[in-house]
């Protein structure tokens, strides 16, 4: 499924599934958005499902931002996304609270 997103100022709003099929597009979109705005705010409220390749893309983007002294923040994570983050212990680095 192709990547769907909208940009609202500094906020990048992702929609739909994030998985291996659109992970490369996700990387490109994150890089492009970062180039324009510096600190990344990624809104996941409309993302029902994310797999490990999408997670890898987000981690890459986070590391790139950190190298530049900037941040990447995730908001609106659904329970499924929370679960993946907490299973891989990556929730905290993205600023997600520990679920439950």
């Amino acid at each position: 499924m192709p990547l769907t997103y909208t940009v609202n100022g500094p906020e990048l709003i992702l929609s739909g599934r994030l998985d291996a099929q659109n992970a490369l597009d996700l990387r490109a979109v994150l890089a492009e958005h970062a180039a324009q705005t510096g600190n990344l705010h990624v809104n996941m409220a409309d993302v029902p499902f994310m797999d490990s390749s999408a997670l890898a893309a987000l981690v890459s983007a986070l590391k790139d931002r950190r190298r530049e002294g900037r941040t990447l923040r995730l908001t609106g994570a659904s329970p499924a996304v929370h679960e993946l983050m907490s299973l891989t212990m990556l929730g905290r680095v993205f600023g997600l609270e520990e679920p439950r």
């Binding site: 797999d51 890898a56 890459s60 679960e83 299973l87 990556l90």
Partner: protein
Amino acid sequence: MDVTAPDPFTELLDQVVDLSDQLVFLQRLIPQALALTDEAQATGLVQQAAALINTPGAALNVRGEWLGDTPGWLRGVQPPGHAAVLPAGAVHTGAPFIGAWRLTAVLAVPLEQGWLALWGKLDFLAGERELINTLAQLLDAALRAMHGRREAERYAIQERDRRQARAVWRAVTPEALRTPPGYHLHLHSQPASDFGGDFQFQEAEWIVAGDVSGKGLPAAIITAMFASAFTVAARSASLNSTLGEALHDHLERSGAFCTLAAMQVRPDGQLRVLNIGHPPVLLRRADGRLEEVRASAPPLGTFPLLHVDVERMWLHPGDALLVYSDGLFEAEDTAGVPFGLERTRQLASQVAPTAFIRQAVAGLRGFEVGDDLTLLVLQRDPAARGVQRRLPGDLQALVALSEALREAVPPDHPALMPAELAITELFVNAVRHGGAREVTLRAHTSGTDILVTLTDDGAPFDPRSAVTREGGELREHGYGLLIAQRCAREWHYARKAQFNRQTLRLRAPDLSVLT
């Protein structure tokens, strides 16, 4: 004065001369064409041909790209469907006003992958058009041959790389693992492609499974490096930092991540398990109850590895560890619903370990497995002597607790009495102070030791933290945990989900040390 008609003979002679020039050109052209190594050289041939027919302007377009300098007006001209001469004046050759430039015809000849254009004179004779047609055919053949050579080379390189990568991969991730004595081991390895992604290997007592992100040759190399780094790390005392240092730089530079589920398996049921970014490792007890070993650190290569929890546990007879990759729970059915972790847990709990892989594979029918799928089951031999007993959190059950222990331990075993004492104390403690409503005893012998796992659903409490007093005083309280401490050669505590888990190695105490 009348215009003298050209002498037919002279005309013919001219044509023959032209023709022989052309033949010579073509003779020279053929070897040049065959030796083409890139498309820019083809432009040179076109320009040579143009010069031969007194045409100042020539350009070559391949796959929509003009090679070399091209006048702007040419970019606006549509590629021809067949060879044609656009008569002088038909194309506006970029002049700001018509009279400023000489009118020119344009000879446009299509190629298989583009077209060529010649211009700068009023008309093109038939013979000239023939020559350029021949040139076009030659160019097509030459470009085709050139691409073919390139493809063959690239394919040969890819094929060689692919074979190498596959050899590296298979050497590092064997399709069969050695079964440790006293256990049953089953492995289902189903890579999504030739190599890359999930891996597993053994090193001494360690069985390691993991997932490298990013497929292909780099992933295979990373895994090979990892395997050798892990070999060193596994032998060194400090597993955590060595692992982290060895791998992090390499992985980070290559942009790859690597998850890891590693278990050190001893013959008597002792395990050490660590999980770095991998899906939860499931400990399935013989009675179907599940405990999880979740990741205690994110995947290697994401962030520097600061600390990893190494969990100690006993696998009692019939207990099993289940390791699986995300290819399992991320598989999706036609409606896009994933197989999911919950279904994985249910399957693990309800199905005997020996049937887990078969049932998982069957359960995946109707699902699309998009990633590598790895399923690993390590089960302690269920036929060995041991006991697993659930008891109510009631002091009346102390008798049943002792009887259960005696199912696993022969009456003359040197650690029987200390073990009975220790587990009694811990049972009473869990019931009286933790409010436990159910306590489960699991036990088996290991030489002169008894390995015991005691789980209770009482309030979180690590009893090891409460043992501070010395013995030898005449006081009524505080002896319980002291007894447990003195009978336990090893005592690990873990809070798992909603219960406390004590993992003990019990042995007859050396009383000479105490007095």
